[in-house]
Structure formats: C-alpha cells, structure tokens
Symmetry: C2
Subunit: 475 residues, 2 copies
Amino acid sequence: MNAPTQAAHLAPEVAQRAVPEALIEALKARFGVNCSTALVVREQHGRDESAFTTVPPPAAVVFAESTQDVSDAVRLCAQFQVPVIPFGVGSSLEGHLLAVQGGVSIDLMRMNKVLSINPEDLLVVVQPGVTRKQLNEEIKSTGLFFPIDPGADATIGGMSATRASGTNAVRYGTMRENVLALEVVTASGEVIRTGTRAKKSSAGYDLTRLMVGSEGTLGVMTEITVKLYPLPEAISAAICSFPSIEAAVRAVIKTIQLGVPIARVELIDHNAVRMVNAYAKLGLREEPLLLMEFHGSPAGVKEQAETVQDIASEFGGNAFEWATTPEERTRLWTARHNAYFAALQSRPGCRAISTDTCVPISRLADCLLDSIAETDASGIPYFLVGHVGDGNFHFGYLIDPNNPQECATAEALNQQLVHRALRLGGTCTGEHGIGLHKMDFLRTETGEGAVDMMRTIKRALDPHNIMNPGKIFSM
Amino acid sequence: MNAPTQAAHLAPEVAQRAVPEALIEALKARFGVNCSTALVVREQHGRDESAFTTVPPPAAVVFAESTQDVSDAVRLCAQFQVPVIPFGVGSSLEGHLLAVQGGVSIDLMRMNKVLSINPEDLLVVVQPGVTRKQLNEEIKSTGLFFPIDPGADATIGGMSATRASGTNAVRYGTMRENVLALEVVTASGEVIRTGTRAKKSSAGYDLTRLMVGSEGTLGVMTEITVKLYPLPEAISAAICSFPSIEAAVRAVIKTIQLGVPIARVELIDHNAVRMVNAYAKLGLREEPLLLMEFHGSPAGVKEQAETVQDIASEFGGNAFEWATTPEERTRLWTARHNAYFAALQSRPGCRAISTDTCVPISRLADCLLDSIAETDASGIPYFLVGHVGDGNFHFGYLIDPNNPQECATAEALNQQLVHRALRLGGTCTGEHGIGLHKMDFLRTETGEGAVDMMRTIKRALDPHNIMNPGKIFSM
C-alpha cells in the first residue's frame, strides 16, 4: 500500500484504455453541466484514502442524480467499452476509486435521498450517496438506528460495495448481514432488482450478497434496502485497562465464547492510548485498553456489564470505568475515534498504512502477539486498534512516505501479518476490501480456483470488463 | 405442486438427456458397488417430499464417500454432459431432487462426518450428509448448539443448498447467516474453497452466499463450516391462545418491533390445534396459539417473557402457560412438530400441499387474513403454521390427490397467496426454495432482469448445464 511497491502491484493494470472524444461528447450532450472534464474535478475523483497516488485521473466525471442517469452513463460507456468507476465520499483505503485503466467516474453523492423509512419492518431504502451519519440523523425520530460504522462517514453505497463493518459488527453484523435488497445498474446499463422486503427468502441465487462486497466490479448500486434496529432502551459504556495486550484479548475471547451479546469491544494498544492522550488530553492510563458498550434493557445491560467486569478482573483488568450518560460515553469513544488522527499528529508528515486482517477469535492472541513483536523489532512507529470481538484489528504503521526503507519495511510487516493471519484460518481483509493492493493476498487466501470462479462470474456479467476494472483480481 | 398442474410446470424440462452406457460403465469401473443402477435404488433417488411423482428416476446412483468421489463422479458426468443431482435425506418439498432431465444422482449420506469442532470459535466443519440432529448430538458435550431447524431432520448440505431456516431463525438467522465457508465441487469436477474461519471478511465476491441457496445448480458442497451458539443459560417456553389470528399476529409484530430477542415465535391456527389435539391428546384450547421460546440469562429470559406477556395481554392473549423444564417444553413443542402429521391423519389419504410465502412483518396480518378468508371460502380443509416472527408462514392444503378439482383449487389458492405476498413486498419462498414449482413465481418476484443474471451466472459456471438442471429457472 506504499509508494515503492504500488508500481509493482499496479503494473499489469496500468494500461489506460482509450476514452474516445465521441464518448465525452455524448456524455456532455446527455448530462450537460453534470458531466465535467475539468482537471480539478477529475483529480478529486482520481484518488481515495489509499496510498496510491500515481494513477491518472478519470477522463470525465458524471454527477448522477437518478437511476436513469446512472443507467444512461453506463450505457454510453458500454457502447465505447470504456471503464466506469462509481464514486461516493472517496474514503476507500484500498484504491477502489482509482481509474487504473482510465474511464469515467460516476459521482453518486447527489443521489443522497432516504427514499422510504419503514419503521414497522425495521428497514429503510436509501440512495447510494446517503452517508451513515446522514441516515442516522434522518431516522432519529423513529427510535431506530443503523449500526454499521466504519471509521469514515462513508456512503451506504460505498459500504455495501466493500462489505464494510465497524465497531458494532460484533453484535449487529456487517453489511453482509444488513443489506436486504438492491437496485443495481448492470454493465449493460440495465436496471435490476435483487431481494425483497421480506426478512428471509430462498428465492434463487443470492444476488444481493453477490453484489455486496463486489467493489463496483459487477454493477452500480442505485437503491439499497438496509436493516435498522431499535435504539437500545439502555446503553452503558465502559473502559478497562489491562496489564498486557494478551490479557485484554483473552478477556475478549472469553466474553465472546460465553455468548455475552456485547455491542462493541474495541482494543486500543498503549501506543494508541499515548497518542490520543497527547492529542485530546484524555488522561487515560497508558496501558492496553478495552472500550466496551452494552445495549439492552436496563437489567440486561447491568447483567452483561457485571459478567464482563468479572471476566476482566480474572485477566487482571483494572480501573474499570463506567459511562452511562451520553456525554460520558462520547468522551470514552473519543479515544477510539481520534486514534487515527492522533496517530498522524504523533509523527508530523507521516502517513498511516492500515492493515486489516481478521482471524478466528481463538487465534487472535497468537496472531497479535507475534505481529506486535515483529513490529516492535522493526522500529517503525505504529499503533494498534481493533474490533477484537470479531477477530479484526488494524495496525497503523506510521511511515515517512519519502523514506523508501520505511515504506518497504511497512510493506514487509503487512505481508508477514497477512500470511500469519491466513495460516491461522483468517482473512487478509475484515472490512476494507481487496481493491488494488490485496489481489495477491486474495489468491493466497482463497486459492486460484475460487478467484477463477470470481473471474468467470465477472466475465459473464461484464464481458467488456468496464465495471471498475483492475480491482479484486486481474483479468 | 399438485399432480394435474405439475405436467404443465414440467413440460419445458421433461426432455430427458441421454445417459450413455459408456458413462455407466465408467462410473461402475470407478465406484464398483458404490454405483448402483438397481431400479429400487434409482427410484428412492428419483423422488422427494414434493408432489411431483411422474418424473423417471436417475439412470444411476453414486454413493460418494469423499470429496474425491464427488469430484470424480462429476468429472465423468461432465465428460458425457450428463446431469448430476446431489441427494441427501430427500426431504425437499419443491422437487429439487428429481432427475427432470435424467442423469446421475450423487448420494451424499455416507459423507456424514463432523470433521472438526472448534468450540472456541463457535464453529464446526461438517460433511454435507450430516443431519441437523446428528450435528447437535455430536456437539452436545461442548455446551454449544446449531439452531437451524427445518421441520425434517435434513442434512446440512441440503439445508445449505436451499437456504433453509426454521423456528429459531427469528433470533439466529437462516443458513444465509450461518454458513461461514464451503468446499465445493464445481461443474468441471474441480474442488474450490470459499470463505475462511474468520467471522467476517471483505475478500472478494461472496461465493459462499452465492452457493448457499443455489439448489445444487452451481456445484456440490462437500464441506460446510457453520456457526454454533452457546446453549442458553436459561430457556423458557410459553404458549398463549388468542381470540383471533389477527390478535396473535399483532402481538408478534409488536414484539419484533420492540426488539425483544425472542428465540422462537410460532403461530398455530385453530385448525392445526384441533388436529394436534386429536393426534396427540394435548388438550390445548382450540384457538389460535402462539408458541414462544426465550433464550438468555435467567434474568434476561424473565424480562423478555414479562415483556411479551404484557404485549400478549394487550392483544387479548390469555391462558399464558409457562414451561421451564425440558419435559414441559418438549410437550409444548410437540404440538408444533406434530402439526404436519396430525394434519395428514385428520383426513386419511390426503396430501398436504405446503405454501411458503414470507412478507414484511408489517404486512403479515393483512396477508394472512385475506388468505385465510379465501381458503375458508374454498372449502378445502387446511391448517396454518408459521414462523411469524420472520413473516413466514405455511398453509397446508389437505387435498385428495385423486380429486383434480381439489388439486386445482389448492393450486389457485397458492397462486393467489403468492401474488398477494409479492404485492406486499414479500417473497414466494421463505425457506423451501424454488425447485420445480416456483419458477414462474420467481420471475414475477424478482423480474426478468434478475433471473437473467442468475441464468448468466449459471451458464458461465456450468456451461453444459449439468448441475441439477431444470431447477430455479429454465435455461
């Protein structure tokens, strides 16, 4: 994910496909000012939060305002066999949004309406450009909430495309479990629907879940039906420090294995605590912390919390601190939410390279401890945060992007970490997706056979390889 | 699903494909006595629990004992472009197991090993022929259980292939949520793996969920990793009668909307109660009943139960009866489990035609009440049971299979019911699958575009259409 290695990763894909002037003219004729070829607009749509920076921007950007717009834009691009890259807020960490083969970016941020709220069925239908915070704002009066919370205020479209999750996934699942139905514009510009509003169905292939996590390579999502949940009657948050990462992780493992329906359980290592203390003057003990949240009835929350407090004590946890008011909770979660920015400030000018492995929880301690030892030995500054209830965690390697040695070291650490996670039965990506950087990892993880099956599906549904080409696998 | 109409449904598929003698010889050479062409064996593998009976049996049955066996059998069939039909216990209700285009049945019941139990990660790896009861028996000592419980003691392979669920789905989800990873033999006989042991992943297309529910049309599952759950510390069951179906359903809707984590909530209509009373002398009030189960800590279960009891009272529920010992619970659940057999006994010689619609819970009362009125008016005896917490319910039309008028009436009722459910945003099948009978319904439900996408995927992954052809959609 760093500068020196990206060239190697991108090499097979870098061949830019021609974008004929006739297509640009056709798009301008159809979309008027909603099709831009201004360099500044194209450059905004030619990057994301990944470390890839050397890819030329798309040839044009279409600002879609409706499903019909998306369909027409895709149809025109299909006619000229030109790549189409769906674009939301641009928070991808894996290069999903880069026009690695050239093409046209379709900006979906004007498709940002909540189309229907159905509190009785605990679901909502949104356009892809609605962000998660906007959604929660718009449904506030219903007493329901949408729990999936990747770090960024990402769009529901982007989150669906990468099968995103976040801190609440341990209790509420990921986008895999929470997208119920879709409207999709296919590679030919056709509009199809997958799924219904029914909670379950055995009606044919699960096209919804095939699309979720397909990173824009099979179609553009134009309507998304997601599940909502009743706001818990009671919420209680707690923070607890541990003598070691191992002790913290063992406490989490036991909590999960006992079936405690904990809503959030986040690990913050001593480096991250030190960084957020410096950033936000939080005065937290500079030891590994677990940040936890319990949702339920008042009695249920109390019971869960007592159980977890007992488990924590068993593993040497101390300074168990409670937060039951919204303000206290906000203060505690600030530590977690600020970790990334606090880390960047801890080393001015640095770039954070984020890993995303996820392992079976029984192997979490092994995986973490070996990787921490390796990272400590490398001398690269880092922090570690994790959705440890799911076995998912992120090292943030804080590298000087102009120092090739550091870049190479971070890349080597990530390689070692991923291979360790795969050996332990895990995955190279818990929630960020494959994008450009993890294509080799995917092959190692799932085997050539499964990747070939993905390619076969891609070839069948997108014969001219125009939908976000060059992502997930090479063709 | 009845005799007179099945011919019409089957007509386009009935063309039997030739099974060359050379293939049978090759299978016998490879499998010896594990390949049978005895008529009695073929006939056992030429039917299931559906109403379709006029299809010729497969030309041969291979009893597979390993993934290699399945791979070799599929490779040989592929060489001759002969259909392959995976077979478990034969409990499909939709004709999934019938050799509508001829071919070879692969019996997977000898692949019935639990391959590894991993209690720490709450998962287990099984071969496809393991049944759900066998699985729960084999993991009993771990303190964990596998919650998915279709009526029959189906195999995990069959349940995965139809995306099955059952009474616990309201709390624990369906096979969609509970299959974590697969080993699959593809249409060319290749063995691929999908998914890992990690709880979540964003690694490429979700092939696991593409396979789950694909009814054997994309490959044969040879290893299945499923989630387990800690046996609840406390379980409490209750039965409550209501003055009307509507009152019972409204109580369920409110329970779900309040987010009560009820583990099971089953509706049994007054007809079904009457039938099980006659069958098993249960002495239940012959009114619509809700059967409920609560899982959790002792305090949590008590709290849930109190909440639901309050809701039930609000809707006129009475005779709330508790069962906390395993014996009492078994007695109550007997009513539900015996409903099907009790119904068959209520009209000697009859056949039960089961519907399987599922609607958004807000529309459940509307859907049920209109359909009940219609069914009452038809004069066909019936019973109604349902996983109403999910909006899924089954009418059982008790028809005389030799009476064409009754068959036609039942078919017409089912048609009306499905179209009503679709109008209300639901699905034609909550858990039984499409199979042979619901292909038209699928097209209406999801639209030609989505069915075409399914066909395109099928064609790409199985170019000679040998994997359980003629199911889900016509090609």
